[in-house]
Amino acid sequence: MGGLPEMVLTGLLLWTAVQAPVSADQNRTELLFVRRIAPLLAAKCLPCHGSDRREGGLDLRTQQSATAGGDSGLPLMLPADVEQSPLLLAVLRQSSDWSAMPPNEGDRLTEQQVGWVRAWLAGGAAWPSADRQREIAMTHAAAWNAEDGVQVATSGGLSADWTARRYVPESLWALQPVRRPVLQDSSEHPIDRLLTLHCPPELPSAAATDVCTFLRRATYDLTGLPPAPEEADEFVAACGGADSIALESDRGRVAISGLIERLLSSPHYGERMAQHWLDVVRYADSSGFANDYERGNAWRYRDYVVRAFNSDKPWNQFVMEQLAGDELDPGNAENLIAAGFLRMGPWELTGMEVEKVARQRFLDDVVNSVGESFLSQSLQCARCHDHKFDPVPTRDYYSIQAVFATTQISERAAPFLPVERTADFEERQLLEERQAEYVQVLQTLDELLLRNAVQWYQQRGQDAGLWLSVVAEVRQDGQVQSGRVGAASRKSADVYSRVRKLMGERGVPEDQYPPKLVGFTPAEFGLERVARKGLERLKWEFDRYEPFALSVYSGATREFRTVNAPVRLPVDPLSPGAVEETCILTGGDPFAAGERVRPGVLSAVSRGADAAISEAVFGRRLAFARWVASADNPLTTRSIVNRLWGWHFGRAIAANPNNFGSTGGRPVHPELLDWLAAELVDSGWSVKSLHRQIMSSRAYRRSSRPADAGLVARLDPELRYLSCFPARRLTAEELRDSMLSVSGELNLQVGGIPNRPELHAEVALQPRQVMGSFAAAWVPNPLPAQRHRRSLYALRLRGLPDPSLEVFNLPTPDFSCERRDSSTVTPQVFVQFNSQNSWSRSLAMASRVLRETTTEEAAMDRCFRLVFGRPAAAAELRLCLQHWHEQVAVQGEAVFSTAVAPQEVIRDAVEENTGERFQFTEKLYGMDRFVPDLRAEDCDARTRALADVCLVLLNSNEFVYVQ
C-alpha cells in the first residue's frame, strides 16, 4: 500500500499482544481468512504486492511479510485499532494518509468485502499456515459450495485458485441448458404470458395503439422504410377502421397477420436485418488504419447477409457458413463469400509493423468477434489472463485461437452467382481513366528524371556515356515488353529506376550515377508519390468488379513483409510457410509463447466432453462451427433470439447482446428468452417464425403512451417490462432512406456494388491522408438514381464516415455494435435542418406532391400522409397551408445561383520528403457526367415554399420517432 505516512506505533505492540490465545474467535477468523480474505488478497492485491511486483516494498503473500509492512515499516493490520488499520483505510479509499487501494476505481471492494476485512481485523487478523488453510478448505468445501456459489468445470486456469473459483449461480445463467417453460393457459399469447411473470403487478399496461401507428412501427421494424400512403389505406380498410379498437378486433388480427407476411416477404426485409447484423460484425468496405485500402469484394458478403435473411436461411446454417463456409464446400461461391465474416475487422500489414504482431492482431480479432457475434461472450478479456469474472480461462482463449491458426486471409476466386447483382460494372471505366492518368504522370516524370540525370552528369563534369547506353538498353527492352502487354504498362514508367538498378548490378559505385528521383522539385516528389500510391490503391478497387470473394482458406501461414495488393489463393495452401502452432501467449505478448494448446471450444459450455478438435490443417473451423451451431449450445440460440427481441423493442431481454457474462445485464425475462430460444430450434432455426411470434403479441401492439406515466417512471423507467411500447428515434440510415422515400427519389434496387451518394461537398473533397499519400476524393455517382439507393449500399470507408450519418449515431465499424445509441446533440440540427441534402429532399418532395395532387389541400394532406403515415388534422392543415402561402412571398424575393459541380480539386499538401508545400490537381472522374438533383433555381416560388413546409415536416419529432 502506498502513501506511507507517520503511523501510530502503539498498534504494533497491540498486534503482538493478541497473538497468544487460540479461541473460538480465532477459529472463526481463520475460516474467514481462508474463505474470504485470502481470495480477496489474491484477486485485488497480489498482482502488485506479490510475486514479481512489490509496489511500495509491500509483499502480501505471507503473514510475516504483510506484518512487516511496506516501505513505511508499519504493519497493515491493527486488530486492536481496526479503524486505523492501514489495510482498512486503504480499501475504504477515504484516508488522506493511505492511497486508495486497489488504485483502479473499478476494482474497489464492495461493502460486503470491506465488511469481511473489518471482521477479520477485529477477530485478530488470523493467518493460518498453508497446511492449515488447505485443511480448513477441505473440511468446509461442501458447506461453502452451497452458500457461496458453484464451481465450473473448465479446461483449467493459469492458477489453481482460478480453476477452483466459485460463481454466483445466477451469473452463469447463459451457460445453463435452454429450458422451454411449460405454459398452462393456451388462450394467451406465450410471449404475453411470459412477460407478466416478472412484471410488477401494479404496473398497468398501455392500451393498444392505433392502426396507422402500428403500421408505421411494423413497417420500420421489418424494412427500415416508412409505409406508403396507399399501404396505410389498405391496412386501415383491412382492419375495418383506424383506431385501436379496430386493431384489436378479429379483422384487425387477420390484417396484422397479413401485414407481417407481406413485410417478411419484402426484399427490403433482408436489407433491414442485414443492417442489424452488419452492425454486429463491423462491416465496412475498407480495411482501416494507415492505408484504409478498399475491400473491393466486401459487398458480396453484405448481399449474402441480405439473401440469408430474405430466404430465411436456418440460423444454424447461417452461423456455419460464416465460420467455415470455405471448409463446408469451397466449390460453392456462396460459402466462400459467407466466410467473409472472418475478414470483417479492421486489418492491414504495412512495412512498419512486425508481421507476427499483425498476424496476432488478426487472430485476436477473429476470436473475439466470433465470441461476441455468435456466443454473446466477449473473449478478449481472457487474452492476457484468465477471465476475471466469467469461467473463461486463458487456455480456452488460445484453444479457440488454435481453431483459427490455420485460417489465412485471401481474396480468392469465387464466380458470380446468378442471384448476385452484377449491374453497373461499366463504372469501372472511371477507374481506368484514373489509372491511365497515373501511368501518364509516372511516364512524364520518368522522362524528366532521365533528362535530370544527364544534367547531373553535366554538372559534375562527368561523362554520361555508360548511363545513356544502359538507358537505350532498357528502352529497347521496354518496347519489346510493352508490345506484348499493352501501352499502359507500368514498365514504360520506370525506365529511370531500372537503369539505376542495372548500373548498380554492373558494379558502378552508387555515388557514380544519379541518385533516386534526381533533381525533383517538391511538387515532382509529391506527384510521383500520389501517382504511385494511387495505382497501388486502384488494385483493390478494381477487385469490386472481379469474381473474387473477401474470404479465407485453411493452410500454412505465409510470411509477408507487407500486404499492399489483394492476396490470391496460393496454388499450394501448405507452401510456402509453416503451419502455426498455438501456444498460450503470456500476457498476450506474441513473443512470449507459453504452454502449447490444442484447438478447442469454450470449455464451460462443452463441460469437457467434446472440447477437442482435430489438429488437421483443414477442418478445424468446421468442427468448431458445428459446436457453435449445435442446438445444444445455449449461448448461440439465446444470442440470436435476444438480439432479435432487441431489434423489435429497442432493448434486448438481456441488456447486452454481445455479453452474456457476469458483467453484462442479466435477462429481465429469462423464461421468455428460453422460450424464444426453444422456439427457434423447434421451428427449424427460422428467424422469420420468431418475427411472427413477437409481432403477434399484445406487447407489440401497445401504444407508446403509458397508461400511467407516473407509475411507469417509478416502476419501469427503462421500459424493461414493456408496459408501453418504447418509442425510438430512427437510425441514421432510416432517416436518410425515409427522406428519399417520401421525396419519391429512393431507388429500391437490391444488392450490388456499393454506390456513392453525395456527401457534404466540403467533406467529399476534404483531403484524406493515407500512408504516404492522399486517397482519391469522394466522387458521387453521376446519376441521381445511382446515388439514391438505400444507405445500406453506400460505400462504407473506415477512414471517411459520412458525418451526416455519424451525427445520428452511426456506429464505428471498429467495434461490434450491440445496440444503436440515439443521443440528441446540437450538430444534428445542422445536418437535418441546414444541409443541402435536406433541402434537396424537401424540394423533390414538394415537386412530387404538386405533381401528384390537384388542390392545395390535397397536396398538404399528402405531405402529412407521406411523412407521418396519417392524414393531416384540420388545424394542422390550416396552419401549414398558411405557412405555405406566407413563404411564397418570402421565396419570391430569394435569389439562387447555380453552383457548378467541380470537375477537379486543387490539393495543397506538404511534401513529405522536403516539408515544402506543393499543389496538385486531382481530376474528379465522373463529374463531367454528373446530373444534379432537383435544384432550387429549377423550381418556382410556390414549389420552394411548399418545400419549406416539407423541410419542417422532415425535421419534426413525429417523423423522427417511431412510436
Binding site: E105, V518, M771, G799, N913, N957
Partner: protein
C-alpha cells in the same frame, strides 16, 4: 418559442455540445447558468485540489518529429555519420530491418535560456521562452505505424475507437462554457492519418467528442443553410416546426427527449451567428498578430491556429488540439524539418509569450509532441539526402505552463538517441501525468463500458513525478 427555455428544464441538459447549448450570448439570456461555473465533471470536483492547469493546448506534430534534430543533440552521431550496419530479427518490421546507416543531424545545436535547454539553432523564437518549457526525453510508445501511434498518443489505445484525451478531460472536469464544445480541434486542411477517430468520444457520451474547426471552407459543415435561404425564411420555418412539435409533445407527455430535440433547434439557430465571431481575428492588434506570425509566410497558417487556440481558451474551452502535419521525414530531414520548424517556431513561441502576458499560462498546460520519435539511422533508400525512420523507443515531448516543472529537461536517451534510458516512461504514464496536472486521477477517471471500467491509460500508469512543478 421565446418560452422554450423555461418549458424544458429537463431537456435542456441533454441538448448539448457540452451540457447545454452553445453560445456566449445565451449565458446572459438566463437560459444557461453563468459562464464561470462548471457544469458536469466528476462529482465533488477534480480529484486533486491543488492542480493549476484548467485548460490544455495540445500541439500535435503529426508524422513524428525527430528529437535528434530539435531538442536532443547527439554529437556521437556526427562521428558515426554514414557508418553502415545490418539489423534483423523476427521482432523487427520491414522498415527497421536490413542494411542501415547512421545519420548526423544537419542542424547545429546550442543551449538557451537560464536553464540551458538544448535546442537546434533553427528554433529562433522558441529559445526566447525556453525557461517556460519542461522537456521530457523518456517517453516511449508501442507502435511504429502512424495511425496506431497517433491513436495511442491521442486516445491511449493503439487500435482506435477509444475516447481522446480531450474527451476524458472534459468528462472529468466538466464544462467552463456550456455554449461551446469543451474539446476543439484545429486540424490541417487534410486530417491526420487515422482521421477523426483521433478526437473521437469513443464510448463516452457524444458531447465529449472533439469538434474540428476545419482549416478551409466552413469551419463547421452545415452551420449555415444553403445559399439563397434567408434568415427570415429560416426563422419562419423554425416557428412552424416549434408549433408542430409542441402539439406532438402535448400528445406524448413526459418524453424529455422530444423536449430536448426542440430546444436544440433554437440553440443551433443562434450559433450560426456566434461561431464565426470566434474565428474572426480582426479584433486582434497588429502587434499580437505579428507575435504569432499571422499575415506572414510561412507562419500564417499555424500562427492563426495558435491565436485561435488562445481565444478559445479565453472562452473556457477545456482542450484545444492543434495539428501541424508532415513531420514524417524519411528523407531530406534538413529541408523537411527545417521548413516545418520555421513554420511553427514563431507561432508557438508567440502563443507561450502571449499566454504568459495575459496571465493564462499558469492555468493552461501546453503540450508539444508527435506520435513517436525518429531513429538515429536510416534504411538504404537508394541514397539521396538523409532522413530518419520511426522510433517508438525515444522521443522528446515538452510541456509549458499548467504547473509543470518549467526550465528543466527530464530523462535522457542513449548516446545515439535510439532508446530512452533515463526516466523512461510509457506514454500511458505521460497521460496519467497530464491528467494529474489537471487535478485528475487516471485510476478514478473511469467509465463503465463493455463489461469493465475503462480509463485513459487502459490499465493504469504512474505519474512521472519529475515533470510536476
Amino acid at each position: 418559442m421565446s418560452d422554450v427555455g423555461s418549458s424544458c428544464a429537463v431537456g435542456r441538459r441533454q441538448v448539448v455540445w457540452s451540457t447545454a447549448g452553445l453560445l456566449t450570448s445565451l449565458a446572459s439570456s438566463a437560459l444557461l447558468s453563468a459562464e464561470d461555473s462548471v457544469v458536469g465533471g466528476m462529482p465533488g470536483g477534480p480529484h486533486f485540489g491543488n492542480a493549476r492547469a484548467k485548460n490544455v493546448i495540445f500541439l500535435m506534430m503529426e508524422g513524428g518529429p525527430s528529437h535528434l534534430d530539435t531538442f536532443d543533440p547527439k554529437p556521437e552521431l556526427s562521428r558515426r555519420h554514414l557508418q553502415q550496419f545490418v539489423r534483423s530479427g523476427r521482432e523487427k518490421s520491414a522498415m527497421e530491418a536490413g542494411q542501415r546507416y547512421y545519420v548526423r543531424s544537419p542542424f547545429r545545436f546550442r543551449r538557451v535560456g537560464q536553464s540551458g535547454a538544448d535546442m537546434s539553432e533553427n528554433w529562433r523564437y522558441l529559445a526566447g521562452v525556453a525557461d517556460e518549457l519542461c522537456f521530457f526525453r523518456g517517453c516511449t510508445v508501442d507502435s511504429v505505424n502512424h495511425p496506431t501511434a497517433m491513436y495511442q498518443m491521442n486516445c491511449g489505445n493503439r487500435f482506435g475507437g477509444d475516447p481522446g484525451l480531450g474527451a476524458w478531460i472534459c468528462y472529468g472536469l466538466g464544462s467552463l462554457n456550456q455554449n461551446l464544445p469543451g474539446f476543439i480541434v484545429l486540424p490541417e486542411v487534410s486530417y491526420p492519418q487515422g482521421g477523426a477517430a483521433n478526437w473521437g468520444n469513443g464510448f463516452l457520451p457524444p458531447q465529449y467528442q472533439g469538434t474540428p474547426l476545419r482549416a478551409r471552407g466552413s469551419a463547421i459543415p452545415d452551420l449555415h443553410p444553403p445559399r439563397g435561404v434567408t434568415r427570415l425564411e429560416q426563422r419562419k420555418n423554425l416557428d412552424l416546426l416549434a408549433r408542430l412539435n409542441q402539439e406532438h409533445a402535448d400528445r406524448n407527455p413526459g418524453n424529455s427527449e422530444l423536449q430536448a430535440r426542440m430546444a436544440g433547434y433554437e440553440l443551433a439557430f443562434r450559433m450560426q451567428a456566434e461561431v464565426p465571431e470566434l474565428l474572426d481575428l480582426s479584433g486582434e492588434t497588429r502587434q499580437v498578430l505579428a507575435q504569432y506570425g499571422v499575415g506572414e509566410q510561412p507562419t500564417d497558417a499555424f500562427g492563426r491556429k495558435c491565436l485561435v487556440a488562445r481565444r478559445l481558451v479565453e472562452q473556457g474551452v477545456r482542450f484545444v488540439q492543434l495539428y501541424s502535419g508532415s513531420w514524417d521525414s524519411h528523407d531530406y530531414i534538413e529541408r523537411a524539418h527545417g521548413n516545418l520548424i520555421e513554420a511553427t517556431d514563431r507561432p508557438i513561441a508567440g502563443l507561450i509569450a502571449d499566454l504568459r502576458q495575459r496571465g493564462l499560462l499558469d492555468s493552461t498546460l501546453v503540450v508539444w509532441c508527435g506520435e513517436f520519435g525518429r531513429t538515429p539511422d536510416n534504411g538504404v533508400r537508394q541514397g539521396t539526402a538523409y532522413g530518419r525512420d520511426h522510433n517508438p523507443n525515444a522521443m522528446t515531448i515538452w510541456l509549458a505552463g499548467g504547473g509543470c516543472r518549467a526550465g528543466s529537461t527530464i530523462g535522457a536517451t542513449d548516446e545515439l538517441g535510439m532508446e530512452a534510458v533515463e526516466c523512461r516512461a510509457h506514454v500511458r504514464d505521460l497521460h496519467v501525468t497530464l491528467l494529474r496536472l489537471l487535478g485528475l486521477d487516471d485510476s478514478r477517471l473511469t467509465y463503465y463500458h463493455a463489461g469493465r471500467y475503462k480509463q485513459l491509460s487502459q490499465f493504469g500508469g504512474k505519474v512521472i513525478e519529475p515533470l510536476l512543478g
